[in-house]
């Protein structure tokens, strides 16, 4: 009797998991299908050439979006690098250097920062961050003669660089909290073992970070996919200019998501723009998927 009951329970749970999994997987498949079906006309017409050209001319129905693809990769990667340093730093300070009493305050503050709507970050990025970065980072570097490599900033400071820094600020609270929670959960006996060998605090922290490197990779994966997909805030600070030289990060540019957000309102007026934007979205989807996959895979191996 008992056995029958538990078997029934098992089947119920199994059904529930199967159904939720099925819904999840099929919705992802559906999304890909819709993206692919809608972008089919341009895929059939141009193949992969939109991915390797930067000529965006709706009048002649030319839709090369390499500039946006490049903008996405450049901003998200730079954001990831900045955010990684920030999140690890913040998490380490939280876990090892501040007194217990201060922790709830810092924690609440960081969680609050994670919950701010992205459009508010966008406004702040537009009105505060971009001009500040322009005056204190971009201009000084340009005056050092780096403009051939990094480009000339626009008068307002909107640029791929500003977008990257803004993205870093936006993704840091979450990624830092992932690392932080893992750091504080390192058992006391492991920390005691490290300290008992006469290690300095910084040496202990470095070893602890190595110990939790898998969580750091998870935080990176989460950050990168958020950075790649973030739209509203980026669209406000990135400048929305076709910039084929997307590695010149002080110039304004486009990312895929800002391109879609910016161009979609008038896309219906052209034959191939909607398919082109869906094609770009499909590419965005696969970038995010690939990065997640790679980071999580490398986490498994180590």
């Amino acid at each position: 009797m008992r056995r029958a009951l538990s078997l029934k329970r098992f089947l119920d749970v199994f059904k529930l998991i199967s159904i939720t999994n099925f819904i999840l997987i099929s919705s992802v498949v559906l999304v890909v299908l819709v993206l692919f079906a809608t972008s089919l006309p341009i895929v059939l017409r141009d193949g992969v050439s939109p991915l390797i050209h930067s000529i965006w001319n709706p009048v002649s129905e030319e839709y090369g979006f390499l500039f946006a693809l490049g903008g996405t990769v450049v901003t998200a990667s730079l954001a990831l690098a900045i955010s990684l340093a920030l999140s690890i730093g913040l998490a380490a300070v939280y876990a090892e250097y501040i007194p217990d009493k201060l922790r709830p305050v810092v924690k609440n503050f960081m969680d609050l920062a994670a919950s701010i709507p992205s459009v508010i970050y966008g406004l702040w990025g537009l009105k505060v961050l971009s001009p500040v970065l322009r005056s204190y980072v971009m201009e000084p570097l340009v005056s050092l003669g780096l403009s051939p490599y990094l480009g000339h900033p626009s008068p307002t400071g909107t640029s791929l660089f500003s977008a990257a820094v803004l993205l870093a600020v936006m993704v840091t609270p979450l990624s830092s909290s992932i690392i932080r929670e893992r750091l504080v959960s390192i058992p006391m006996h492991i920390r005691e073992a490290l300290y008992s060998l006469g290690l300095m605090k910084t040496e202990v922290v470095l070893l602890e970070l190595k110990y939790i490197r898998r969580s750091i990779l998870t935080a990176m994966a989460v950050s990168y996919s958020r950075a790649v997909g973030e739209t509203a805030a980026v669209a406000m600070v990135v400048g929305n200019v076709v910039n084929p030289y997307f590695f010149k990060i002080f110039r304004p540019g486009y990312t895929i998501s800002s391109l879609i957000a910016d161009q979609y309102p008038n896309a219906e007026a052209y034959y191939y723009m909607v398919p082109a934007l869906f094609y770009a979205a499909l590419v965005l989807f696969f970038i995010s998927l690939a990065v997640n996959f790679l980071l999580l895979k490398s986490g498994e191996r180590t």
């Binding site: 007194p99 492991i190 920390r191 490290l194 008992s196 060998l197 006469g198 290690l199 300095m200």
Partner: protein
């Protein structure tokens, strides 16, 4: 001979609660010195006060004097990491760093503290420490496999090797066998007796029989104070204090 550990009127409180209430203790060199007593008597705190691992706990207040191998442990000019390099520690839960190999666990301390100059010297030291901890023969063919693959008893001996690799003057052991089975315990006890050739061993145990098996000297602690201390044979045959007698005859503890 000058004692290697000298503790004078040591008071420790954590978050306002007194844990040690005026401990005085002298430990001679190259002996096994056991501290026994019931749970909550302050044994582990006393041990952790010696190498300043207690510094990791919040709300700590320490008064009194502790001198280990000539180092004034609580002098404001003393660097706690120097103290910890002189005093090795083995814990209640075997705690090798799980994602590190057997070799790296032992090599970690000497490497970071720059006790060796070459890879060959490090290899030599790791081998020496593992031999001293009776572990070399069991692991010599798999030094690069993760420490977490070892059995509990092997992990604890690995921790002993890790501590020994620092060439400490004193080895603190906090109930090192309380998480091990009887076979692993017997092996570690045998090892402890052997270790006093290299270091002074200060072992905390809640098991009076273990204290009688491994130690040359023993101290009985109760409620943050040392009730009685002396050569092991004497304490176990002619205890002067009624509480000690009750404890070693198993009436409480």
């Amino acid at each position: 001979m000058e004692p290697v550990i000298h503790i004078e009127n040591l008071w420790v409180s954590i978050s306002g609660r007194d844990i040690l209430k005026g401990v005085n203790l002298e430990v001679p060199r190259n002996v096994v010195f056991a501290i026994m007593g019931p749970s909550g008597s302050g044994k582990s705190t006393l041990l952790r006060a010696l190498n300043r691992i207690l510094d990791l706990y919040e709300g700590l207040a320490v008064r009194g004097k502790v001198v280990v191998d000539g180092i004034d442990v609580y002098n404001s000019k003393t660097d706690p990491s120097v103290v910890r390099r002189t005093i090795g520690m083995v814990f209640q839960i075997p705690n090798p760093i799980p994602n590190m190999s057997i070799y790296d666990n032992v090599a970690l301390g000497p490497k970071i503290n720059k006790l060796v100059r070459s890879r060959a010297e490090l290899d030599e030291l790791v081998k020496w420490a593992l031999e001293k901890a009776y572990l070399w023969d069991e692991v010599k063919d798999r030094l690069n496999s993760p420490a977490s693959k070892l059995s509990g008893g092997q992990q604890q001996r690995l921790c002993i090797a890790r501590a020994l690799a620092m060439k400490p003057k004193v080895l603190l052991m906090d109930e090192p066998t309380s998480n091990l089975d009887t076979v692993a315990t017997a092996k570690i006890e045998e090892l402890i007796v052997e270790l006093k050739k290299e270091v002074t061993v200060l072992i905390v145990t809640h098991n009076p029989f273990q204290a009688s098996r491994v130690s040359d000297y023993v101290a009985f602690m109760y409620d943050g104070q040392i009730i009685e201390t002396g050569p092991t044979g004497q304490i176990f045959t002619r205890p002067r204090n009624k509480l000690t007698e009750k404890y070693i005859t198993g009436k409480f503890g």
